[in-house]
Assembly symmetry: C2
Homo-oligomer: 114 residues x 2
């Protein structure tokens, strides 16, 4: 009876927003932040559900990190699921791409290509 997910979570279950219900404004603001950009990039380079929130290499504390994930959820960019004590993530590639064509690619390509 190990990984049961869903059931408990932490205090409350993560609230998700469908990309279809996200405004361009919100999406762009969410993405136009250095820390969140980094999160998205790392997330894109990992398998779905393989990364817990704390496993990212960003220069902010847990609290701020939690906030950023909240913003990403609100923008329909990230889906979360509770897996034991950890909250694991998945990048909503296709759904987000369908709503905001090209945007994710832009973030992922980043400046690395230049």
């Amino acid at each position: 009876m190990a990984n049961q997910a869903a059931g408990g979570g932490h205090r409350t279950a993560p609230v998700h927003t469908d990309p279809e219900d996200v405004s361009v404004q919100t999406a762009l603001s969410a993405v136009a932040d250095p820390v969140r950009m980094q999160l998205i990039r790392e997330l894109a380079g990992s398998a779905d559900w393989s990364r817990s929130c704390g496993s990212f290499d960003v220069p902010v504390g847990k609290a701020a990190l939690s906030h950023h994930f909240s913003v990403l959820r609100g923008a329909g960019l990230v889906e979360q699921r509770d897996e034991g004590p950890k909250r694991v993530n998945r990048l909503r590639r296709e759904e987000f791409e369908a709503r905001f064509p090209g945007l994710l690619d832009l973030v992922l390509r980043g400046d690395s290509t230049r």
Copy 2:
């Protein structure tokens, strides 16, 4: 000998940034602002060089407006030219599109499609 442009301008000539020299960060931040988004949309719906800075329907004063145009120039989104006492604008569609594929379309499509 009417419109001679270039020559004088106001105090200094407008400083432009090539889209190629703009970071994704900068581009996204520039675009992720309601007022600037509006400017871009109106600009996209007008012929090149047909709109002076003051001719846009945005709810901010001249000072703020000037600031926004400065940001847009810095992001490689807008080109300006002095024409008499006015400063007229042009959206750098192709150049910007080449550097940030899809981004401009995204802003222009906006929420109108939903």
